[in-house]
Subunit: 209 residues, 2 copies
Protein backbone atom coordinates (compact mmCIF):
# COMPACT_ATOMS: atom_id res chain seq x y z
CA UNK A 1 0.00 0.00 0.00
CA UNK A 2 1.21 3.42 -1.00
CA UNK A 3 0.52 5.07 2.36
CA UNK A 4 1.24 2.07 4.58
CA UNK A 5 4.92 2.86 4.81
CA UNK A 6 7.37 5.26 6.41
CA UNK A 7 6.18 8.80 5.64
CA UNK A 8 9.68 9.90 4.62
CA UNK A 9 9.77 7.06 2.12
CA UNK A 10 6.38 8.10 0.74
CA UNK A 11 7.71 11.66 0.35
CA UNK A 12 10.78 10.28 -1.46
CA UNK A 13 8.57 8.32 -3.90
CA UNK A 14 6.28 11.31 -4.36
CA UNK A 15 9.26 13.56 -5.11
CA UNK A 16 10.63 11.16 -7.75
CA UNK A 17 9.79 11.24 -11.46
CA UNK A 18 7.79 7.99 -11.15
CA UNK A 19 4.22 8.62 -12.37
CA UNK A 20 2.75 7.30 -9.10
CA UNK A 21 2.37 8.34 -6.39
CA UNK A 22 1.52 11.80 -7.69
CA UNK A 23 -0.99 14.52 -7.00
CA UNK A 24 -3.83 12.00 -6.58
CA UNK A 25 -2.10 9.91 -3.92
CA UNK A 26 -0.90 13.09 -2.19
CA UNK A 27 -4.48 14.38 -2.13
CA UNK A 28 -5.66 11.14 -0.52
CA UNK A 29 -2.88 11.57 2.07
CA UNK A 30 -3.91 15.18 2.74
CA UNK A 31 -7.55 14.09 3.09
CA UNK A 32 -6.54 11.38 5.54
CA UNK A 33 -4.72 14.02 7.65
CA UNK A 34 -7.98 16.01 7.71
CA UNK A 35 -9.95 12.93 8.78
CA UNK A 36 -7.39 12.16 11.52
CA UNK A 37 -7.68 15.74 12.83
CA UNK A 38 -11.48 15.42 12.94
CA UNK A 39 -10.94 12.27 15.03
CA UNK A 40 -8.54 14.16 17.30
CA UNK A 41 -11.14 16.83 18.03
CA UNK A 42 -13.72 14.13 18.77
CA UNK A 43 -11.25 12.24 20.98
CA UNK A 44 -10.59 15.44 22.95
CA UNK A 45 -14.36 15.87 23.41
CA UNK A 46 -15.64 12.41 24.28
CA UNK A 47 -16.36 11.82 27.96
CA UNK A 48 -16.25 15.54 28.84
CA UNK A 49 -19.17 16.61 31.03
CA UNK A 50 -19.46 19.94 29.23
CA UNK A 51 -20.21 18.15 25.93
CA UNK A 52 -22.27 15.25 27.32
CA UNK A 53 -25.28 16.29 25.23
CA UNK A 54 -23.26 15.51 22.07
CA UNK A 55 -21.67 12.26 23.26
CA UNK A 56 -23.68 10.09 20.87
CA UNK A 57 -22.82 12.31 17.90
CA UNK A 58 -19.17 12.37 18.95
CA UNK A 59 -19.09 8.57 19.06
CA UNK A 60 -20.58 8.42 15.57
CA UNK A 61 -18.05 10.99 14.32
CA UNK A 62 -15.24 8.88 15.78
CA UNK A 63 -16.45 5.78 13.94
CA UNK A 64 -17.06 7.55 10.65
CA UNK A 65 -13.90 9.66 10.65
CA UNK A 66 -11.79 6.53 11.11
CA UNK A 67 -13.72 4.74 8.38
CA UNK A 68 -13.20 7.65 5.95
CA UNK A 69 -9.55 7.93 6.89
CA UNK A 70 -8.99 4.25 6.08
CA UNK A 71 -10.98 4.64 2.87
CA UNK A 72 -8.71 7.51 1.78
CA UNK A 73 -5.58 5.47 2.52
CA UNK A 74 -7.03 2.71 0.30
CA UNK A 75 -8.03 5.23 -2.40
CA UNK A 76 -4.39 6.29 -2.75
CA UNK A 77 -3.76 2.77 -4.05
CA UNK A 78 -6.81 2.75 -6.26
CA UNK A 79 -5.64 6.04 -7.79
CA UNK A 80 -2.18 4.64 -8.47
CA UNK A 81 -3.65 1.50 -10.05
CA UNK A 82 -5.92 3.55 -12.29
CA UNK A 83 -3.19 5.98 -13.27
CA UNK A 84 -0.40 3.51 -14.07
CA UNK A 85 -1.99 2.12 -17.31
CA UNK A 86 -2.35 5.66 -18.67
CA UNK A 87 1.36 6.15 -19.37
CA UNK A 88 1.37 2.79 -21.18
CA UNK A 89 -1.67 3.68 -23.24
CA UNK A 90 -0.11 6.97 -24.40
CA UNK A 91 2.83 5.04 -25.83
CA UNK A 92 0.68 2.64 -27.91
CA UNK A 93 1.53 2.84 -31.65
CA UNK A 94 -0.72 4.86 -33.96
CA UNK A 95 0.56 4.10 -37.43
CA UNK A 96 -2.26 2.09 -39.02
CA UNK A 97 -5.99 2.66 -38.85
CA UNK A 98 -6.33 -0.48 -36.72
CA UNK A 99 -3.68 0.74 -34.31
CA UNK A 100 -5.34 4.14 -34.05
CA UNK A 101 -8.75 2.57 -33.40
CA UNK A 102 -7.32 0.21 -30.78
CA UNK A 103 -5.39 3.02 -29.09
CA UNK A 104 -8.52 5.15 -28.91
CA UNK A 105 -10.49 2.33 -27.38
CA UNK A 106 -7.83 1.72 -24.73
CA UNK A 107 -7.44 5.47 -24.06
CA UNK A 108 -11.17 5.82 -23.53
CA UNK A 109 -11.14 3.22 -20.78
CA UNK A 110 -7.95 4.29 -19.01
CA UNK A 111 -8.84 7.99 -19.10
CA UNK A 112 -12.21 7.19 -17.56
CA UNK A 113 -10.62 5.07 -14.81
CA UNK A 114 -7.95 7.71 -14.14
CA UNK A 115 -10.65 10.39 -13.81
CA UNK A 116 -12.96 8.33 -11.62
CA UNK A 117 -10.24 7.49 -9.07
CA UNK A 118 -9.56 11.12 -7.99
CA UNK A 119 -13.31 11.77 -8.14
CA UNK A 120 -13.76 9.00 -5.55
CA UNK A 121 -11.14 10.74 -3.41
CA UNK A 122 -13.14 13.96 -3.74
CA UNK A 123 -16.39 12.22 -2.76
CA UNK A 124 -14.80 10.70 0.34
CA UNK A 125 -13.19 14.01 1.32
CA UNK A 126 -16.63 15.63 0.94
CA UNK A 127 -17.95 13.17 3.51
CA UNK A 128 -15.04 14.03 5.80
CA UNK A 129 -15.96 17.70 5.42
CA UNK A 130 -19.43 17.05 6.84
CA UNK A 131 -17.79 15.42 9.87
CA UNK A 132 -15.39 18.35 10.29
CA UNK A 133 -18.30 20.77 10.10
CA UNK A 134 -20.15 18.85 12.79
CA UNK A 135 -17.17 18.36 15.10
CA UNK A 136 -16.26 22.05 14.81
CA UNK A 137 -19.77 22.74 16.11
CA UNK A 138 -20.12 20.07 18.78
CA UNK A 139 -16.49 19.37 19.69
CA UNK A 140 -14.41 20.78 22.53
CA UNK A 141 -13.49 24.42 22.09
CA UNK A 142 -10.02 23.43 23.36
CA UNK A 143 -9.47 21.64 20.05
CA UNK A 144 -11.00 24.31 17.84
CA UNK A 145 -7.73 25.11 16.07
CA UNK A 146 -7.40 21.44 15.07
CA UNK A 147 -10.89 21.54 13.54
CA UNK A 148 -9.75 24.60 11.58
CA UNK A 149 -6.63 22.81 10.34
CA UNK A 150 -8.81 19.83 9.34
CA UNK A 151 -11.00 22.20 7.31
CA UNK A 152 -8.16 23.77 5.32
CA UNK A 153 -6.58 20.36 4.66
CA UNK A 154 -9.88 18.92 3.44
CA UNK A 155 -10.35 21.82 1.03
CA UNK A 156 -6.79 21.35 -0.24
CA UNK A 157 -7.38 17.60 -0.71
CA UNK A 158 -10.56 18.35 -2.64
CA UNK A 159 -8.92 20.91 -4.93
CA UNK A 160 -5.81 18.79 -5.34
CA UNK A 161 -7.78 15.72 -6.40
CA UNK A 162 -9.91 17.84 -8.75
CA UNK A 163 -6.84 18.79 -10.80
CA UNK A 164 -6.28 15.08 -11.40
CA UNK A 165 -9.85 14.77 -12.64
CA UNK A 166 -9.52 17.75 -14.99
CA UNK A 167 -6.14 16.73 -16.44
CA UNK A 168 -7.65 13.41 -17.51
CA UNK A 169 -11.05 14.60 -18.71
CA UNK A 170 -9.22 17.17 -20.85
CA UNK A 171 -7.81 14.35 -22.99
CA UNK A 172 -11.19 12.58 -23.39
CA UNK A 173 -12.68 12.44 -26.87
CA UNK A 174 -16.07 11.54 -25.39
CA UNK A 175 -17.06 15.06 -24.35
CA UNK A 176 -20.36 14.02 -22.76
CA UNK A 177 -18.56 11.85 -20.24
CA UNK A 178 -15.94 14.55 -19.69
CA UNK A 179 -18.62 17.20 -19.09
CA UNK A 180 -20.44 14.93 -16.66
CA UNK A 181 -17.32 14.17 -14.60
CA UNK A 182 -16.20 17.82 -14.67
CA UNK A 183 -19.62 18.95 -13.47
CA UNK A 184 -19.44 16.50 -10.56
CA UNK A 185 -15.97 17.71 -9.59
CA UNK A 186 -16.98 21.38 -9.82
CA UNK A 187 -20.07 20.75 -7.68
CA UNK A 188 -18.02 18.97 -5.00
CA UNK A 189 -15.52 21.86 -4.91
CA UNK A 190 -18.25 24.50 -4.71
CA UNK A 191 -20.04 22.76 -1.86
CA UNK A 192 -16.89 21.63 -0.02
CA UNK A 193 -15.11 24.99 -0.29
CA UNK A 194 -18.13 26.86 1.06
CA UNK A 195 -18.33 24.51 4.05
CA UNK A 196 -14.61 24.40 4.85
CA UNK A 197 -14.18 28.16 4.44
CA UNK A 198 -17.08 28.73 6.84
CA UNK A 199 -15.41 26.48 9.43
CA UNK A 200 -12.05 28.21 8.93
CA UNK A 201 -13.63 31.68 9.27
CA UNK A 202 -15.43 30.67 12.43
CA UNK A 203 -12.21 29.31 13.93
CA UNK A 204 -10.25 32.42 12.89
CA UNK A 205 -12.86 34.64 14.50
CA UNK A 206 -12.56 32.70 17.76
CA UNK A 207 -8.76 32.79 17.71
CA UNK A 208 -8.48 36.41 16.61
CA UNK A 209 -6.42 38.42 19.08
CA UNK B 1 10.95 11.59 14.85
CA UNK B 2 7.24 12.28 14.49
CA UNK B 3 7.16 11.89 10.70
CA UNK B 4 9.89 9.25 10.39
CA UNK B 5 7.43 6.40 10.82
CA UNK B 6 4.68 4.52 9.05
CA UNK B 7 2.17 7.06 7.77
CA UNK B 8 -0.77 5.03 9.10
CA UNK B 9 0.82 5.11 12.53
CA UNK B 10 1.29 8.87 12.31
CA UNK B 11 -2.40 9.20 11.40
CA UNK B 12 -3.28 7.03 14.38
CA UNK B 13 -1.26 9.25 16.74
CA UNK B 14 -2.69 12.39 15.16
CA UNK B 15 -6.24 11.06 15.60
CA UNK B 16 -5.67 10.31 19.30
CA UNK B 17 -6.33 12.70 22.16
CA UNK B 18 -2.58 13.07 22.82
CA UNK B 19 -1.65 16.77 22.59
CA UNK B 20 1.08 16.01 20.03
CA UNK B 21 1.16 15.45 17.14
CA UNK B 22 -1.63 17.96 16.46
CA UNK B 23 -2.39 20.69 13.95
CA UNK B 24 1.21 21.93 13.96
CA UNK B 25 2.77 18.58 13.10
CA UNK B 26 0.05 17.93 10.53
CA UNK B 27 0.81 21.30 8.92
CA UNK B 28 4.49 20.39 8.70
CA UNK B 29 3.44 17.08 7.07
CA UNK B 30 1.20 18.91 4.58
CA UNK B 31 4.01 21.35 3.78
CA UNK B 32 6.40 18.46 3.20
CA UNK B 33 3.90 16.94 0.72
CA UNK B 34 3.91 20.29 -1.13
CA UNK B 35 7.73 20.34 -1.19
CA UNK B 36 7.82 16.73 -2.47
CA UNK B 37 5.39 17.62 -5.27
CA UNK B 38 7.59 20.58 -6.27
CA UNK B 39 10.47 18.10 -6.47
CA UNK B 40 8.33 15.76 -8.58
CA UNK B 41 7.65 18.50 -11.13
CA UNK B 42 11.37 19.33 -11.25
CA UNK B 43 12.29 15.64 -11.59
CA UNK B 44 9.87 15.32 -14.53
CA UNK B 45 11.53 18.36 -16.16
CA UNK B 46 15.26 17.81 -15.68
CA UNK B 47 17.10 16.53 -18.73
CA UNK B 48 14.26 17.36 -21.14
CA UNK B 49 15.45 19.15 -24.27
CA UNK B 50 12.37 21.36 -24.32
CA UNK B 51 13.29 22.83 -20.93
CA UNK B 52 17.07 22.89 -21.36
CA UNK B 53 17.16 26.67 -20.88
CA UNK B 54 15.92 26.17 -17.29
CA UNK B 55 18.13 23.18 -16.41
CA UNK B 56 20.27 25.15 -13.96
CA UNK B 57 17.18 26.55 -12.18
CA UNK B 58 15.59 23.11 -12.09
CA UNK B 59 18.71 21.66 -10.47
CA UNK B 60 18.62 24.40 -7.83
CA UNK B 61 14.89 23.81 -7.25
CA UNK B 62 15.60 20.08 -6.76
CA UNK B 63 18.25 20.84 -4.13
CA UNK B 64 16.21 23.45 -2.30
CA UNK B 65 12.89 21.58 -2.38
CA UNK B 66 14.54 18.54 -0.78
CA UNK B 67 16.23 20.75 1.81
CA UNK B 68 12.92 22.45 2.71
CA UNK B 69 11.11 19.10 2.79
CA UNK B 70 13.64 17.73 5.29
CA UNK B 71 13.42 20.95 7.29
CA UNK B 72 9.64 20.58 7.55
CA UNK B 73 9.94 16.96 8.71
CA UNK B 74 12.32 18.20 11.44
CA UNK B 75 10.02 21.12 12.32
CA UNK B 76 7.22 18.65 13.13
CA UNK B 77 9.43 17.49 16.00
CA UNK B 78 10.39 21.00 17.05
CA UNK B 79 6.68 21.88 17.17
CA UNK B 80 5.91 18.84 19.36
CA UNK B 81 8.80 19.68 21.69
CA UNK B 82 7.63 23.28 22.05
CA UNK B 83 4.00 22.32 22.54
CA UNK B 84 4.41 19.54 25.10
CA UNK B 85 5.47 21.82 28.04
CA UNK B 86 2.37 23.97 27.50
CA UNK B 87 -0.07 21.41 28.92
CA UNK B 88 2.21 21.04 31.95
CA UNK B 89 2.41 24.80 32.48
CA UNK B 90 -1.38 25.17 32.40
CA UNK B 91 -1.65 22.72 35.29
CA UNK B 92 0.82 24.60 37.54
CA UNK B 93 -0.77 25.64 40.87
CA UNK B 94 -1.96 29.22 41.28
CA UNK B 95 -2.91 29.49 44.96
CA UNK B 96 -0.28 31.82 46.40
CA UNK B 97 1.15 35.01 44.96
CA UNK B 98 4.48 33.24 44.46
CA UNK B 99 2.80 30.40 42.61
CA UNK B 100 0.93 32.83 40.42
CA UNK B 101 4.08 34.79 39.64
CA UNK B 102 6.04 31.61 38.86
CA UNK B 103 3.24 30.24 36.70
CA UNK B 104 3.08 33.46 34.70
CA UNK B 105 6.80 33.44 34.15
CA UNK B 106 6.70 29.83 32.90
CA UNK B 107 3.60 30.51 30.76
CA UNK B 108 5.32 33.46 29.12
CA UNK B 109 8.20 31.29 27.96
CA UNK B 110 6.21 28.24 26.86
CA UNK B 111 3.58 30.30 25.02
CA UNK B 112 6.35 32.10 23.15
CA UNK B 113 8.04 28.81 22.21
CA UNK B 114 4.72 27.23 21.20
CA UNK B 115 3.96 30.23 18.93
CA UNK B 116 7.41 30.42 17.38
CA UNK B 117 7.43 26.74 16.35
CA UNK B 118 4.41 26.96 13.98
CA UNK B 119 5.72 30.34 12.78
CA UNK B 120 8.94 28.57 11.71
CA UNK B 121 6.79 26.05 9.83
CA UNK B 122 5.04 28.99 8.11
CA UNK B 123 8.37 30.59 7.16
CA UNK B 124 9.66 27.36 5.65
CA UNK B 125 6.41 26.74 3.77
CA UNK B 126 6.72 30.31 2.41
CA UNK B 127 10.10 29.38 0.98
CA UNK B 128 8.56 26.24 -0.55
CA UNK B 129 5.90 28.46 -2.15
CA UNK B 130 8.57 30.45 -4.01
CA UNK B 131 9.92 27.15 -5.39
CA UNK B 132 6.43 26.02 -6.42
CA UNK B 133 5.84 29.34 -8.15
CA UNK B 134 9.09 28.97 -10.07
CA UNK B 135 8.63 25.31 -10.99
CA UNK B 136 5.07 25.99 -12.16
CA UNK B 137 6.63 28.53 -14.54
CA UNK B 138 9.72 26.66 -15.69
CA UNK B 139 8.70 23.03 -15.14
CA UNK B 140 7.30 20.52 -17.63
CA UNK B 141 3.73 21.25 -18.65
CA UNK B 142 3.17 17.47 -18.34
CA UNK B 143 3.41 17.89 -14.55
CA UNK B 144 1.40 21.10 -14.31
CA UNK B 145 -1.38 19.49 -12.25
CA UNK B 146 1.20 18.39 -9.68
CA UNK B 147 2.44 21.98 -9.38
CA UNK B 148 -1.19 23.00 -8.78
CA UNK B 149 -1.62 20.37 -6.07
CA UNK B 150 1.64 21.57 -4.47
CA UNK B 151 0.25 25.12 -4.42
CA UNK B 152 -3.02 24.23 -2.66
CA UNK B 153 -1.19 22.04 -0.13
CA UNK B 154 1.31 24.79 0.65
CA UNK B 155 -1.50 27.28 1.27
CA UNK B 156 -3.24 24.77 3.54
CA UNK B 157 -0.01 24.15 5.46
CA UNK B 158 0.45 27.90 5.89
CA UNK B 159 -3.08 28.48 7.13
CA UNK B 160 -3.04 25.36 9.31
CA UNK B 161 0.18 26.39 11.03
CA UNK B 162 -1.13 29.95 11.49
CA UNK B 163 -4.00 28.68 13.65
CA UNK B 164 -1.41 27.19 15.99
CA UNK B 165 0.30 30.57 16.19
CA UNK B 166 -2.97 32.40 16.93
CA UNK B 167 -4.23 29.94 19.55
CA UNK B 168 -1.03 30.50 21.56
CA UNK B 169 -0.64 34.25 21.08
CA UNK B 170 -4.25 34.61 22.25
CA UNK B 171 -3.22 33.44 25.74
CA UNK B 172 -0.20 35.77 25.95
CA UNK B 173 -0.28 38.54 28.54
CA UNK B 174 2.57 40.31 26.75
CA UNK B 175 0.45 41.88 24.00
CA UNK B 176 3.40 43.52 22.24
CA UNK B 177 4.96 40.14 21.58
CA UNK B 178 1.57 38.68 20.60
CA UNK B 179 0.93 41.53 18.14
CA UNK B 180 4.36 41.14 16.63
CA UNK B 181 3.98 37.37 16.08
CA UNK B 182 0.42 37.76 14.79
CA UNK B 183 1.53 40.43 12.32
CA UNK B 184 4.25 38.11 11.01
CA UNK B 185 1.77 35.25 10.58
CA UNK B 186 -0.79 37.46 8.83
CA UNK B 187 1.87 38.82 6.46
CA UNK B 188 3.04 35.29 5.57
CA UNK B 189 -0.56 34.22 4.86
CA UNK B 190 -1.31 37.29 2.75
CA UNK B 191 1.80 36.86 0.63
CA UNK B 192 1.64 33.05 0.45
CA UNK B 193 -2.07 32.89 -0.36
CA UNK B 194 -1.72 35.41 -3.18
CA UNK B 195 1.13 33.41 -4.71
CA UNK B 196 -0.43 29.95 -4.32
CA UNK B 197 -3.82 31.10 -5.55
CA UNK B 198 -2.20 32.61 -8.63
CA UNK B 199 -0.48 29.27 -9.36
CA UNK B 200 -3.71 27.35 -8.80
CA UNK B 201 -5.69 29.71 -11.08
CA UNK B 202 -3.07 29.41 -13.78
CA UNK B 203 -3.16 25.61 -13.58
CA UNK B 204 -6.99 25.55 -13.55
CA UNK B 205 -7.07 27.76 -16.65
CA UNK B 206 -4.72 25.35 -18.46
CA UNK B 207 -6.73 22.28 -17.41
CA UNK B 208 -10.14 23.81 -18.04
CA UNK B 209 -12.13 21.72 -20.48
Amino acid sequence: MILDKNFNMFLEELASSAPVPGGGGASAACGSLAAALASMVANLTTGKKKYAQYEEDIQRILREAEEKRNALVALADADAEAFAPLAKAYSLPKNTEEEIAYREEVMKKVLYDASIAPLRIMETVSEVILLIEEVAEKGSVMALSDAGVAAVFAEAALKGASLNVFINTKSMKDRDTADELNAKAHALIADGSARTEAVFSKVMKRLDN
